[in-house]
Subunit: 140 residues, 2 copies
DNA sequence: CAAAATACTTGCTTTTAGCAAGTAAATAAA
DNA sequence: TTTATTTACTTGCTAAAAGCAAGTATTTTG
């Protein structure tokens, strides 16, 4: 009974891990790691934040984050500016190039999703979204 | 219109990545990597297969797989036996210890899923599974 | 039989990540 | 108001995870 439910959820999870894997591959082929892409995405949606506030979301090792940020600066994708009120803090922002690269990654993700649903009719697509919304409501 | 659909699917994907991340953490706390756990799982469901056939599913670097298999052998979790008909091939199997360890990992995964739905009523749980089944049917 | 393909291994390197100690600045406590 | 603690970020060192390319042994194919 109950175990049937667990079994089916786990089966769905395996299926969906593969689905999401397909999506992530499209990003990874761009030469950016998932972590780098996440940072660009965070900064696109929350400009002028600090490493610490990024990490409240991403939850990765501080030291590692510091290095990845350094790398993104060297790639001219982001800038770092020391706060004048609190000199411990450094505000991060995307450069124009960073915005462009983020856009490319974002478009790729959308394209990948689009390809996965292109064989569905519009009503089926809407149905799909409804199922997803329902799952989110139940689990969140 | 269409973009709304893509947006919502991507939003669900982000949500579900986090869900699945929670599940995987329970495995990672056991000291096995995800790759190691996947190999144990493959061998549990398909005994007596070769590294190559495992890799048709897992799709990782051959060399790396070879080393992970060696590690699992050193941990006495799996065995490797050369085929007599084709000496290039080596059949892999779980040892009793491997079966036990796999069971532990499997139980942990189930437990983790169980915890994520424990606050739902039984009808809600059944509904959840229905939504998942519907999504799978649409996307697979 | 020679050449190509298959199955797996090994050496070397890179990427990703984590830990711990350290600097500098700000805040709280004595 | 000095001292201790906390915060924000950095750096050195290390380990784990993964990839690439060359190599061995065996089998298959032309």
């Amino acid at each position: 009974m109950e175990d049937q439910i667990i079994y089916r959820i786990r089966s769905f999870n395996r299926f969906y891990v593969r689905q999401i894997g397909l999506l992530q591959n499209s990003v990874l082929n761009t030469g950016y790691s998932l972590t780098e892409a996440h940072i660009l995405n965070e900064l696109r949606h929350n400009p002028n934040v600090t490493a610490t506030s990024i990490n409240e979301v991403l939850q990765i090792d501080e030291g590692y984050l510091s290095r990845v940020i350094k790398k993104l600066i060297n790639l001219s994708l982001i800038t770092k500016k020391q706060s004048t009120e609190d000199k411990r803090k450094y505000y991060l922002n995307l450069t124009n190039k960073g915005i462009e690269e983020h856009q490319i990654l974002d478009d790729l993700s959308s394209k990948s999703v689009r390809e996965q649903i292109e064989n569905l009719s519009k009503p089926q697509q809407l149905e799909l979204v409804d199922f997803m919304t329902s799952i989110t409501k139940l689990l969140k």
